[in-house]
Subunit: 480 residues, 2 copies
């Protein structure tokens, strides 16, 4: 017996009066979900976070057990919840799947990725979804779990996955172990996590949809959710089947992606026609039927909106025997993926050749006030610009190293200004960039060019900046 297993046994013995919740996958959702479960509202759980024994995960697991929450986040509740579970001693992280033996409830928070690498032209005619990792994760549960454990899938999956993948795998593993298949309980419930200052509350106080493969599974899932979600603040909605709630999740994100793609397309048209899409959107959003209309932006990033619509389209073909894609949803992803390229073309058409230019990027995160570079649209723009220009430098207060591109990122604006950039590209809508003292600093630089690809500045700031600098705003014709 290795020391990890001894620690795990000790943890279980110490918490023998508690039900055990195991979280499978300690990423952006699983890590925070662990805290929410370890600080449940109406029940005391012993929570085990389980991840794969990869180098990265093992580092994360060690951080957890050493008292260091492994994600950088703005939400002060994260540290409070983490320290609270430390002092209660009800959280343990491990790479040993034997941990699932102890679980009364398992929450599946593993990744399910889409491979777009076969679509060099961004048309997405050839994207691929590989379920191998997900299948392996479910097999692991089938091998180790108690037959009456409640398994709740929280991963965003192609609609139909619980019925067509999870259930058959678990049944097969159960039958190998001669377990009673009737005690199988599978639920599905998706989170609506929003990284940022309300990370925890976006799980705990936010309405949730859930379902089960049968009445009993749905009811057990509901009972569990009620112990961690504050149902005095938000509703739980039961849907009729796991396929329905799986579809709800991808539909929700596809809708968002489609709204963004719509704005992307009109943003280009507005630039061509020399009008200001920002004031148009403002004028239209007064209608309640149009309040979801989005403003122009450099595009969409993050882990979800860049792939979820594809999961649905894939499911349609692979689980439901249809030959056709969900065109609008796939096209939305494709249009959004192209947006950094459009932004680059706009930059070139307004400011001309970049080849002798020193260029500073402000922001690499895919979202304002968050340090998350996963699938950030800034990447596409940065890659095109850096190929083309003399030199580049990057600022971001929430990111100190851009892992995907192996690049240093500075958090001092002064450092950037010393670099003497000729073009400033604002590429993430971090709040500090809009603050008056920051805008004043830019106003005092020697005349240069500014490309605001995220709609950071208000009209007054734009007019001020344009008295000294050349400024171009995404979704807007030339500023006179």
């Amino acid at each position: 017996m290795d020391s990890d297993y001894i620690n795990l046994k000790e943890f279980i013995n110490r918490n023998s009066d508690k039900k055990v919740v195991a979280i499978q996958g300690l990423g952006f959702v699983g890590a925070v979900m662990s805290l929410v479960c370890a600080n449940a509202l109406t029940e005391e759980y012993a929570v085990i976070g389980v991840d794969l024994p990869s180098e990265k995960s093992l580092k994360r697991i060690n951080e957890f057990n050493d008292g260091l929450f492994p994600l950088v986040a703005d939400d002060p509740k994260i540290e409070i919840f983490f320290q609270n579970s430390r002092s209660k001693g009800n959280f343990y992280a491990t790479a040993d799947p034997v941990a699932f033996e102890f679980a009364d409830v398992v929450i599946v928070d593993v990744n399910l990725d889409v491979d777009k690498s076969n679509s060099e032209d961004l048309s997405l005619n050839n994207f691929n979804i590989n379920l191998d990792n997900f299948r392996n994760a479910i097999s692991t549960l089938g091998i180790f779990c108690k037959s009456n454990a409640l398994i709740i899938v929280e991963t965003t999956v192609p609609p139909g996955t619980c019925e067509n993948v999870v259930k058959p795998i678990l049944l097969e593993e159960f039958s190998k172990r001669n377990l009673d298949s009737k005690s199988l309980k599978i639920g599905h419930s998706y989170e609506r996590v929003m990284p940022g200052p309300e990370y925890i509350d976006s799980i705990r106080n936010y309405p949730r949809v859930y379902s089960g493969i049968d009445e009993n599974s749905a009811t057990e899932t509901e009972k569990f959710l009620k112990t961690i979600i504050d149902t005095s603040l938000c509703d739980l909605t039961r849907l009729n089947s796991t396929t329905a709630s799986e579809m709800a999740k991808v539909l929700e994100n596809s809708y968002r992606a489609a709204n963004i793609a719509f704005a992307v397309e009109w943003s280009r048209f507005a630039e061509e026609a020399g009008v200001n899409l920002w004031e148009i959107v403002d004028a239209i959003r007064v209608r309640k039927t149009h309040s979801n209309l989005m403003f122009p932006n450099i595009g969409v990033g993050g882990y979800c909106l860049t792939k979820d619509p594809l999961l649905a389209s894939w499911a349609r073909k692979n689980f439901f025997d249809q030959s056709e894609d969900l065109f609008m949803s796939v096209d939305s992803v494709s249009i959004n993926d192209q947006m950094p390229m459009f932004a680059y073309k706009r930059l070139r058409s307004v400011f001309g050749d970049l080849k002798d230019k020193r260029i500073a990027f402000f922001g690499v995160s895919y979202r304002g006030d968050v340090g998350d570079t996963r699938f950030t649209p800034v990447r596409g723009l940065y890659e095109l610009v850096s190929l083309d220009s003399k030199e580049t430098i990057i600022h971001d207060p929430f990111v100190d190293f851009w892992e995907e591109l192996d690049l240093q990122v500075f958090d001092s604006a002064e450092r950037i200004f010393e670099f003497n950039p000729e073009i400033l590209i604002f590429s993430t809508a971090h709040s500090i960039y809009k603050q008056e003292n920051f805008v004043d600093k830019i106003l005092n630089l020697k005349p240069l060019s500014i490309f605001d690809s995220v709609g950071l500045f208000n009209e007054c700031q734009i007019q001020n900046l344009s008295t000294r600098h050349r400024i171009s705003i995404i979704g807007r014709g030339d500023i006179s």
Copy 2:
């Protein structure tokens, strides 16, 4: 001088103390706009409605002058406003363009149609916009109008039309007449009319966007709008150019069309996957960011959403030298145009062959509680079903004759039931179809099949109906 001109002169003399507003085009917008102007809030106008001397328009003009408002509408204010203007004697309708000579303000409400006939496959690769009628209408204004008349375009036009079409034509006609081109005033302001019980208020009490080709035109347009719009209830928003407000209008409708297309696509997926999209949409719309998500439906009809997105795409190519369509917007129209065919396929897949079946349609209007068959999606479904089935019959309480198809429509449900239909297709969401006494009648028919293509019935009604009949709902898997 013909008698029409004498009447017109008499009308002008009788109203010589009033400013004259001429409405060009007396269709669904122009007719009601005439009433709003003749009942302006802060000014007494003499209003002249002008239309072309076609057979249809002449009939309409005569009805107007004979005291018969020519549109059937649910809004009681229409009759009140109409009778009020009759008793004031401040409205006159004519086909004589000389009427524009008297106008201080002209509101352009003529049609601008899109020809989709080259796209038999509904892909819209080859749609065409013919501006000839619109150009002629503007030329007429240039020939007759006073040089200082304010011309407000209210027609939905391709963005850029005021600058690229209206202004050059008027300047040309003015120069032929040696009029001062500096006094030319062109504004653009679009309505957000919603036919139905609040027809008048949807003009008078609803926020409006406006613009002008220059500062003076915009200011004059604003002044005029303030006399007819209740700005204590809603805002007027000035945009920077006529192209901007033209774009706002088509963007607004394109957004709506895209939302509908999104629902159409997922509706098919839900049917294939055997889930209930209605409950999914309900669960998602609790999020404010997702409140514009639409419910499944047979598709989109009416004059605007079926073509406006195409105007924008056309403008992009023809006024702004772009080679590409606005793909999402064009695709939205295409997807929506295909919806009746999807509904037909669904009908066939659920209820099988129709060839020996007598089929009753409930509703032909494109919208519930309105009598308007223009571009109704019911047409596509009806044509497919009638080709295929033994016999059909149609019910609609708001339409007595289906002009486009030259078909009789009944307003007595009893008449329909005597026909002994084997399938009932609900194709318009008229309120009376949801009323309990109506549902009870259906419940008492001998067992038959029901296809609800508009989501008319609530869950309780569906369950009741399904005890006796086979029922299928659009956007929803089979009902057990």
